[in-house]
């Protein structure tokens, strides 16, 4: 599920830096001596069985995630190759390892409205992203929900009755619509949620 590197930028950088009096060493071509392993970033290996399936259409990627942590009611799930999603009762509040990640989010009002399956609720939502020079940038959306009953087909083939809650959030620059399929007891079994401009939507389903 790992996004590929930007070849365009590598080629571009090589073009720009061909006119330099510097030593170029291709990274990744370094052979390190035995007994002198350099440490490198490894992913926290998730324990436990996979409980979440995620699909990222913009990258054509798909993966399964297991639980790696829980804090303040937010559960963090991670793939084997180092991508994590943090969900607050099924609502996405944080991602890591994808690039233009959702750093954090204020989605408490969204959570209440979605889990209670309220029709026509209106509230704000705040997303935080990292810009190119490591500053956190906030975007505030105005959201509104709409609901209807729908029988949803799960990956397992099972058909489940649920309430389909659509959350339409907008700013003058963009609009996105999150979709949640919520059961009678207020559990999100399937969803399609917006991450960022670069990544688009992620589709999640509980196994």
């Amino acid at each position: 599920m790992k996004p590929t590197r930007s070849l365009r930028t590598l080629g571009l950088a090589t073009a720009v830096f061909s006119l330099c009096a510097c030593d170029l060493v291709p990274t990744g071509a370094v052979l390190n001596g035995v007994g002198s392993e350099t440490v490198s970033v490894d992913s926290t290996q998730p324990r436990g069985r996979p409980v979440l399936v995620a699909v990222l259409p913009s990258r054509g990627a798909r993966g399964t995630l297991a639980v790696t942590g829980a804090n303040q009611g937010v559960v963090t799930f991670q793939t084997a190759d180092g991508i994590s999603l943090s969900l607050d009762d099924g609502l996405l509040v944080s991602t890591r390892g994808l690039g233009q990640d959702l750093m954090s989010a204020q989605a408490e009002d969204a959570r209440l409205a979605v889990l209670s399956r309220v029709q026509g609720a209106s509230y704000p939502r705040i997303h935080a992203y990292l810009d190119g020079i490591n500053r956190i940038r906030y975007t505030t959306y105005s959201c509104e929900t709409s609901t209807r009953q729908q029988v949803v087909e799960m990956l397992s083939g099972e058909n489940r009755g649920s309430t389909r809650v659509e959350e339409e959030c907008s700013t003058p620059e963009r609009t996105f619509t999150n979709t949640y399929w919520v059961t009678d007891i207020g559990a999100v079994i399937k969803s399609r949620q917006w991450i960022s401009d670069d990544l688009g939507y992620v589709e999640l389903e509980r196994l």
């Binding site: 006119l19 170029l24 001596g33 500053r135």
Partner: protein, 714 residues
Amino acid sequence: MTDRIDGTAKRPGRNWAAPLALSAVSLLASAATVAGEPETHAAYNTYGSPGVIDMPSAYSRPDGELGFTVSSFAGQTRNTLTFQVTPRLSTSLRYSSLQDLNTRNDTLYDRSLSLHYRLVDEGYIRPAVAVGLNDILGTGVYSSEYIVASKTLRDALRITGGLGWGRLAGEGEFRNPLSFLSDRFEERGPREVGFGGRVDTGNWFRGDAALFAGIEWQATERLGLALEYSSDAYAREQPTAFSRDSSINVEARYSFNEYVDVSAYYLYGSEVGLQISTAINPKDRPNSGGIEAAPPPVLPRSAAAAGQLGWPETADTLTSFERRLSAALGDQGIVLHGYTLGRNQITVEFENESYSQTAQALGRTARVITRVAPASVERIAMVPVVNGLPGSQVVMSRRDLEAFEFRPQAAALSLNNSSFEEAIQSVPPADARYPRLRWNLKPYLTPSFFDPDAPVRADIGLELGATLQPARGLEFSGAVRKRLVGNLDESTRESTSVLPRVRSDFNIYDREGDTKLIELTGAYYFKPGANLYGRVTAGYLEPMFGGVSTELLWKRHDSRLALGIEANYVRQRDFNQLFSFRNYETFTGHVSAYYQLESGYHFQVDVGQYLAGDVGATFSFDREFDNGWRVGAFATFTDVSYDDFGEGSFDKGLRVTVPIDWLSGGASREQYEATIRPVQRDGGARLSVNDRLYERVRDVHEPQIVESWGRFWR
């Protein structure tokens, strides 16, 4: 850094309107970009500067953009590197080859520097106005000055008109309008060229002036057309290189994407030309934050199993605690340097081997500590270490880490609730840390430019390096290179320097060094006192010199100011770069002051004696971006006369640093560093030593850590 800015992201979708071409944004739109920067940007002209086709225009390029343009027509090829230093100031460094000039038989290779400054922003009625200087330091082939205004008429149409002097007053010239100020403006004297490289202000805006104009139309999102009336007579180029039949130039420009433009033009009624422009903007990171693996989640004590965060009672469990901490940090690309564990607090010294920003290493270390430290530990202190030297100590409470992890304002909260201190407490190194030996084998490519015999040369080979760290602060390192293939040894230009040949014999070193010892040194890094750092390095310090280098740096961990003093005694190494020396030996040393502005501009002054025995000062100025990118320039003025220095008159150059993680998206501390000098002579030459203190230490001090705090939770 946690300001609320709404709606600054781009529209979704792949075909984002190319800003290298005219942006089709209505003037009336109030959508102000970050920092109030105007939306309209100039294209790159044949000189690689903001302009129309061959003429300049009043708009600038996006702030922070680094662009490279190659244009060619009628045997005139211009390669230009342009940097938008501030939103208003653009600087261009150009390397041109001029063929078939009527003043000489062979090709002229010329280096020139241009400046473009946008004085006035465009308003509803008011045009944008800019002023510029061309070919400030070169031999004067492109010498000109101008004042220009540009106006966007409708969404896709804009006009430019201006007044030029010097080369831009070649055609249709008239008496200088500035001569009403003073008679001196009437005449433009002959250029005082000398050895080149000097700024000749005496001729700026002097002599006749002429008008030029242009019109640009963005026909489609990607295709733009331009028409221009040029006041450049190309007096030296015609009629031998081409014949100037007309003053009208036309161009078609196609934008592949935001960063690449290709143009074809028909110039002066007789010549077809081509141009390609590429640009990169450090603020525009390709992988938006990076694709490094996700960090470990914070483990709140309430959720931990009873045995997980127990207190290590015996020596055995303490050893296993150290191993667990070390392994968990190692998984994050961080080396445990040492720790002290108390009932309620833990202090961890770590070495960041993976992340370009210390803030990210701190965040990962903090997360690991919550997962491993005994439950009673509440106060967490973390100290980043470089070369055995401690940086700022960052203290946070565990309760805060547990509470803030998923808060929307997590970054701001964690910063506001942590304190930065001087690291005073002595932390014993971890058992496994010393001694440590590392070695590596890697390929290298060394290019060489600007030799008129062959403007581009290169060597490719293998480098074997090793570092032994027997104890804290002590390092023995060596590197050997073996050339496999290359043509650096073909350079036969002999140095004409009248100074001791401390650098200008570089091509002899290239020729005679086949298997060469790049460095072989022993170094000791230490802290003689509060806010003081010291270094002593001895051995074969660099390919051309060996000896002893000592340095003392004063820098408070929370300050942007640093002062240093360096004293070295060196002897010149033999051309074959093995173990022997030549006869020349000298003392070289400097007193330095460093200052970093919060806005990201960095100043450095070094005063002292250089390798050739000359005495003077070096001034450096860099634009530093919080992601590690740096673009800057330096110049050295010494008691060596311009004549004695030779070609170029004084030592100067540009330097660029590109962080690898910005390019690749993965976690890396590596950087491409490039220094571009128009000419390598012997004046103003400094010794090259590894790990000078300021660059190592500033990375782990508060100002730099806080700048990239956005990465703490990453």
